[in-house]
């Protein structure tokens, strides 16, 4: 329980810092930060599915795409307000998550991964081929920015703050979910599904819920992505992006609350920072990720965790051979 409260504290503090710090950044810097937050929201969803319910989803970028296209069509073509599109995106992805999960989980626990693989490819192909709906390879342009209290957020700084606010809201919702009985059920699922089932947790239902919620977060991220980039085509939602999101969640540390932010930092900001190395920045990126995983398979949050525990042990050193502390609920 204490760990979750620490997470909340870090979250709120981080949001406050992020609100004021980038005031001096240029357009490019604000764009990268906004993209980081949007990616973090998608990663939050995947973290719920993977880190808490233990399911591998290879379609998170496809849900992002569904949300982005839904939002683009609703706001640009139909002129509906962004909030409506935002909710619709989340709802749509939640429903599809349920629809995919029910037959897949009936078969076997880990075949959801393959179903998401197929789904991701189909979504990409439909987006690319069905020009009448999605603009096909030409994409959809001129996606309007949302208007908050009558003020169109065309400037990069106001829009960045908007994205920050929405991302914070979604993170708080997730924090609340994890504190609730649902959260405990998810954790039981992660530790040992068989044991959880024997304790009366409806494994299939909660796995389904985790997956569908994760998908919904992907949809929300897409609803933010479309007005950020103001143009969407199928390319950012391809399978390789889903794999990248998976990589980000693991690198951040699957199952830790704050890992999506760290993972998204690794996936979005790190390649940008490494650009000074010239063309070889992806090489350094991949190398860094590999070294990180070999050193700490629990990702960056795992490293932080170990560091904190090391510090704690040092403090307790004067006492001889104390009994090992029970592992804290994460």
């Amino acid at each position: 329980m204490r760990r979750l409260d620490l997470n909340l504290f870090v979250l709120l503090l981080g949001a406050a810092i992020l609100w004021v710090a980038p005031a001096g950044f240029g357009n490019y810097g604000l764009y990268v930060l906004s993209l980081w937050l949007v990616t973090a929201v998608a990663a939050m969803g995947l973290n719920l599915t993977l880190g808490y319910a233990g399911q591998v989803s290879l379609a998170q970028a496809a849900f992002l795409g569904l949300g982005a296209y839904a939002t683009a069509l609703m706001t640009a073509k139909l002129g509906l307000p962004w909030w409506l599109a935002f909710c619709a995106s989340g709802l749509l992805c939640f429903a599809i998550g349920i629809g995919l999960g029910v037959p897949a989980l009936r078969v076997q626990h880990h075949y959801l991964a393959f179903v998401t693989l197929a789904f991701a490819t189909v979504v990409y192909l439909v987006a690319r081929n069905e020009q009448w709906l999605t603009g096909g390879v030409y994409g959809l342009a001129n996606i309007p920015r949302p208007a908050v209290l009558g003020d169109k957020l065309n400037g990069n700084l106001p829009f960045y703050r908007f994205v920050l606010a929405v991302a914070l809201g979604l993170a708080l919702v997730q924090w609340w979910i994890l504190r609730s009985p649902w959260g405990r059920a998810f954790q039981a699922l992660r530790e040992n599904p068989l044991r959880a089932a024997s304790l009366g947790v409806d494994v299939r239902l909660y796995t389904l819920l985790a997956f569908a919620l994760g998908a919904a977060y992907g949809g929300f991220a897409g609803a933010l992505y479309a007005p950020l980039v103001e143009f969407i085509d199928p390319a950012p939602f391809a399978l390789s992006q889903s794999l990248m999101l998976l990589l980000m969640v693991i690198a951040g540390g699957a199952g830790y609350f704050l890992s999506p932010f760290l993972g998204a930092l690794v996936g979005v900001a790190l390649p940008e920072w490494l650009r000074f190395t010239g063309g070889a920045y992806l090489l350094f990126f991949a190398g860094a990720v590999m070294v990180l995983l070999v050193v700490s398979p629990q990702g960056l949050m795992g490293l932080a965790d170990r560091a904190v525990q090391l510090v704690r042990e040092r403090r307790r050193r004067p006492e001889p051979a104390a009994a090992p502390q029970p592992s804290e609920v994460r």
Partner: protein, 382 residues
């Protein structure tokens, strides 16, 4: 033609004499290239970038633009629209005088509003028809639009190849679909039947099934509209399967890289070429030799585009008489730059108010591993 020789002489003389002249001084003019240096567009982007670098070298050696040297920098877009947008944004933030690139039509479409909003001229290598139809006053092509090239090709298919039915093979991206969408009505207008309409994937490696489909469609000629490397793979697969109908294409089918990769399979391929180092334009050939001396390989048409883009900027700026970022676009609209004004433009080029280009172009054939120009087509004269 005579102007061509004069231009070539002027160009050679100026490159040779450059060393004798005083180098450019004064505050540098920043130019930033937004280029595909990795991903599907790597070949095209690398050529574009090299052409730009060579041009900057030449321009600076001759005194720069209005006496100020050009400082050039390139950002890799990874052929990804989102990354392209970030790169263009960054280029503008860092104060570039104009944006050079991208080359691939998809990323261009994704990012062109950024330069438009910042009122910065953007010179691109893309050929997709739709780019100049969106009322963007800051976008300029460096090669013929598909909307102008396809009718020329369709007429060629009708009158010289005399094909009654054509199979259309195209790559399913902005570029390929755009070309196909313009070509098919042009074919139908001329009474040519479309025997097969075959879409392929960007980066596709295996064309066996597509070649078989084309073979069995009974088409009398095949129009191949793929990116460079895929073109080479297709040609190889076609030869493999014994497809012996005329293969007709555009610059992406007849380029130096394609010939190198496809080897024997490229011989006999014909088509329309907007820009080519092998064209009977001596200035092109001089450029080709300079490029090869510096980079060790022959350039493709993207190298030419990049080279001309820099010189177009120079010509327009010198006409303005001052280095004015906002005024550059206006100066380019309706401008005709001839090689006598500016040898680096290599061939007379006119920009219209939409940013489209009007220029001579060529019909070519690959013979014995080399691209040979068979005809010159005049400007459309708009």
């Amino acid at each position: 033609m005579r102007t061509g020789w004069i231009a070539a002489l002027a160009l050679t003389a100026s490159i040779g004499a450059a060393r004798a002249q005083a180098p450019a001084q004064g505050e540098p003019i920043k130019l930033i290239g937004v280029v595909e240096l990795s991903g599907a567009g790597a070949t095209a982007g690398t050529n574009w970038r090299n052409g730009i670098d060579l041009a900057v070298e030449h321009v600076n050696a001759k005194g720069g633009i209005l006496g100020r040297p050009i400082q050039i920098l390139h950002y890799d877009t990874q052929t990804n629209p989102g990354t392209t947008r970030a790169a263009v944004q960054r280029a503008i933030d860092e104060g570039t005088y104009a944006v050079l690139g991208p080359v691939f039509s998809g990323p261009i479409a994704a990012s062109m509003q950024i330069a438009q909003r910042a009122e910065v001229a953007q010179l691109v290598g893309g050929e997709a028809a739709g780019l100049t139809k969106q009322g963007n006053a800051f976008l300029f092509r460096t090669s013929l639009s598909q909307a102008d090239a396809m009718p020329k090709l369709a007429s060629y298919l009708k009158e010289q190849v005399k094909a009654a039915s054509v199979a259309v093979v195209w790559v399913n991206n902005d570029f390929g679909k755009g070309g196909r969408d313009v070509m098919i009505p042009e074919l139908q207008k001329r009474g040519i039947k479309v025997a097969a309409d075959v879409s392929t994937e960007q980066g596709q490696a295996d064309f066996a099934a597509d070649v078989i489909k084309v073979k069995n469609s009974g088409a009398e000629a095949v129009f191949v509209y793929l990116n460079e490397e895929e073109s080479a793979r297709f040609l190889r697969a076609a030869k493999q399967a014994g497809l012996d109908k005329p293969l007709i294409g555009e610059t992406t089918l007849l380029g130096a890289k394609v010939i190198e990769l496809a080897g024997e399979a490229a011989n006999g391929v014909r088509g329309h070429v907007g820009l080519s180092v092998d064209a009977p334009v001596p200035a092109f050939q001089t450029f080709g030799k300079a490029y090869e001396a510096k980079f060790g390989v022959k350039p493709d048409h993207n190298g030419l585009k990049g080279y001309m883009a820099v010189h177009a900027i120079k010509a327009a700026t010198q006409r303005m008489g001052k280095v004015d970022r906002k005024g550059l676009a206006a100066a380019l609209h309706g401008a005709t730059v001839t090689p006598t004004d500016e040898p680096g433009i290599l061939i007379e080029t006119t920009w219209d108010k939409n940013g489209d280009i009007d220029r001579e172009s060529f019909l070519a054939e690959v013979q014995n591993g080399r691209q040979v120009i068979t005809q010159t087509l005049p400007k459309l004269g708009r």
